[in-house]
């Protein structure tokens, strides 16, 4: 598996399809999240109306993004916070490092943050002598395994319980643990005890943000474990790493998105902890960080505004699209070779990195449309995937066979009579070739299909012929 190389998608996917552990983990994911989400949606009759409102609201925010960001900055600063604007990932890494250096930080605890993943914060901090300690249990597991997340809300969802047992046994020896735990409750308790000391020792706590609130200058995190809260409350400094499109006008507006988030993500009515943080510790506060920094990243997002992929900026990172994606279920998150995976990643990654290196990702979809059906923000993911497929075809790097094949098909498709005749001929030929078994085990030029499975032989008539026949019988036109 080649992590963080979207060009390796095909090779990664081939490897993933034969990985028994991954199959078992992905099976559990589909069986778990899909019915849980549906049940939560069924319990809230206003769910679809909320989606409409949330989409309208986010479109309004994006259309006035500069205004709301200025308001956020003004109010965050008034509350004693510091805002750092970062055009690129490198700017953001340097901003975080500069803050850490002011207290000569040795360790930084981290709540789960996709932006931190996007800017590659952990390896950067390590290279500069600061140990990053992931505290979300899923992030902690993949940090031990030295892997990137494979899901935006369940980073270790590809790991089986046995694999986690082995990881804990191996890495917890240095904390004096020598017994291999196999019960999830005991494993969680062991990680809790080890991480508790890390929170207390950390100089800096780094979290992401689900929202930035313009009217109050606050950042908001949503977690279930409470790890984000310990991360940001105990150290001297709290750094929020986030991106521009997270800003919302008011507490009421945040509330609308919150009503959709947990239900879409895990099927919970509400996550266990939603925390609104505003500025550093007040003079009479008994606890909390002495400094509050918000690092706001652009990294290609401003260029998505006003164009065909702007809709992707509505994403609230619930993960419903990947939880419902048959391709994601088959190949898992690592195959995408990118920070953002599944359908949302297949649209966002080309938007952030360019289509040249990422051209396989929008093709990692059957365009079945389930992602759009479950997206709480009504992002037209299939349309955006098609958009990137078209851009990929226009660019370089498309193999000659693919380009020629599509050109030939397009030539016929624009000549309906000829297309019909060609299809008739092909269908009858395939029927003849598969006449004995009703399916084809090998077909020249279609090895990509027949190497892995048989191709069912057509029954003998084309769709157009059947359509004409049914219409002739007075069926629905």
């Amino acid at each position: 598996m080649e992590f963080m190389n979207p060009g390796a998608f095909k090779a990664n996917a081939r490897e993933a399809l034969t990985d028994e552990n991954l199959r078992s983990a992905m099976g559990q994911l589909a069986a778990g999240f899909v019915p849980l989400r549906q049940a939560a949606v069924d319990r809230l009759p206003e769910f679809d109306l909320l989606r409409e409102r949330a989409r309208e609201l986010k479109d309004h925010i994006l259309a006035n993004l500069d205004f709301y960001l200025e308001r956020f900055e003004r109010n965050c600063t008034a509350a004693g916070g510091q805002v750092h604007w970062c055009a690129t990932a490198e700017d953001a890494r340097q901003a975080v490092l500069a803050i850490c250096r002011t207290v000569d930080a040795k360790t930084a605890t981290k709540g789960k943050s996709m932006i931190a993943e996007e800017i590659g914060l952990n390896p950067f901090l390590e290279n500069h002598g600061i140990e990053p300690v992931e505290t979300d249990l899923g992030e902690y597991i993949i940090q031990l395994a030295d892997e990137p997340p494979s899901h935006i809300i369940g980073p270790a969802v590809h790991k089986t319980k046995d694999q986690v047992s082995d990881l804990f046994l191996h890495h917890h020896r240095k904390h004096g643990r020598t017994e291999r735990q196999t019960e999830p409750a005991k494993m969680v308790a062991e990680a809790r005890e080890i991480l508790r000391q890390r929170y207390l020792d950390a100089d800096v706590g780094i979290t992401g943000a689900n929202y930035l609130i313009a009217e109050t200058g606050s950042s908001v995190i949503v977690t279930n474990e409470g790890n984000g809260d310990l991360t940001q409350t105990l150290p001297k400094i709290h750094i929020v790493v986030t991106s521009l499109e997270k800003v919302v006008p008011t507490l009421e507006d945040m509330t609308t998105f919150l009503r959709l988030l947990a239900r879409s993500a895990t099927g919970q009515e509400f996550s266990a902890y939603t925390t609104i943080s505003t500025g550093p510790r007040r003079p009479d506060d008994p606890d909390g960080p002495g400094e509050f920094h918000v690092v706001i990243l652009d990294n290609g997002r401003s260029a998505m505004l006003g164009g065909e992929v702007q809709d992707m900026l509505r994403c609230i990172r619930c993960g419903a699209c990947m939880n419902h994606c048959p391709v994601y279920h088959s190949v898992g998150g690592h195959s995408y070779g990118a920070v953002y995976v599944g359908p949302m990643g297949a649209v966002l990654t080309p938007s952030l990195l360019g289509i040249a290196e990422t051209r396989h990702l929008p093709c990692a979809s059957m365009l079945c449309g389930r992602c759009e059906e479950v997206c709480p923000m009504q992002i037209p993911l299939p349309r955006l995937l098609r958009h990137w497929r078209e851009r990929a075809f226009e660019g370089d790097g498309v193999p000659a066979a693919e380009r020629w094949g599509l050109s030939i098909w397009a030539w016929f498709a624009r000549r309906p009579w000829l297309y019909g005749q060609g299809a008739r001929l092909a269908v009858r030929l395939l029927r003849y070739l598969g006449r004995e078994r009703g399916r084809l085990g090998k077909l020249w030029g279609a090895g990509g299909w027949t190497d892995g499975r048989d191709l069912p032989a057509p029954e003998g008539r084309t769709f157009q012929e059947l359509w004409r026949q049914r219409r002739g019988k007075g069926g629905a036109a």
Partner: protein, 237 residues
């Protein structure tokens, strides 16, 4: 610090405006958007966030229990220390408790429960049980809302393994939006309001499903969240 003239900042704002194909907002457009913020309009409140006192309290209780809280109702606030002591004893929990230094909560007659050993202040790592008040509670999802401040250290909500919250039934509202209105009123300052450093919305104990998608309580925060609900609404309606 946010700096006007910060080249990174200016470049980002210029890029946003270029993509949107328009200059910065005019003074009038800003006023309109500021007015929009100032109205604090609710977008859509589900039916389940509406109702009268008793109905909302029952819904809060049902939703909190569905989120793995336990709830015990007492008839008067004087019964809170006894209810806390009972809960700790029944569940074999430590009887050393850390009380939020809130005047109402610490004013209750804790001395009436000689088995309890109480202290106040922010949480220490060895603390096992925290007892705190709440600012409000939301029926919609069984959510408690706590505000940080000298009377309520944030660490009490997260560090000890058990969290007990003393809540008056009259503090239960239907929807989150009502909490925001109350919050603005309670922290009014000049023409605006002063957010506390932390507003914690808490729905059940800490949990994780990161190991094989099985739910485990007490990932980093409390393993159990117990609510002592004071029935102070009798005769109010």
């Amino acid at each position: 610090m946010a700096r006007r003239g910060d080249p990174g900042r200016e470049a980002i704002f210029a890029a946003i405006r270029q993509s949107l194909g328009r200059p910065a907002h005019s003074a009038e457009a800003r006023r309109e958007l500021d007015d929009h913020i100032g109205k604090h309009r609710a977008n859509l409140i589900p039916q389940r966030g509406k109702g009268d006192g008793k109905e909302l309290v029952d819904r809060f209780r049902a939703m909190a229990e569905a989120a793995a809280c336990t709830v015990r109702t007492v008839a008067a606030e004087a019964e809170v220390p006894g209810a806390v002591a009972d809960y700790l004893r029944e569940n074999n929990l430590s009887t050393r408790i850390t009380l939020a230094p809130d005047s109402w909560l610490s004013g209750l007659d804790w001395a009436s429960q000689p088995m309890l050993e109480t202290r106040g202040g922010p949480a220490r790592n060895e603390d096992e049980v925290a007892v705190t008040p709440a600012f409000a509670a939301v029926a919609e999802t069984g959510t408690l809302v706590a505000l940080s401040g000298p009377d309520h250290p944030t660490t009490l909500n997260f560090m000890p393994a058990s969290h007990v919250v003393a809540l008056r039934a009259s503090q239960v509202v239907g929807a989150y939006e009502e909490v925001w209105q109350q919050l603005r009123k309670a922290t009014k300052k000049g023409r605006g309001f002063a957010m506390p450093r932390a507003v914690n919305m808490i729905t059940g104990p800490s949990r994780t499903a990161d190991i094989a998608l099985t739910i485990q309580l007490g990932a980093h925060g409390p393993r159990d969240l117990h609510i002592v609900l004071i029935d102070d609404q009798a005769g109010q309606e």
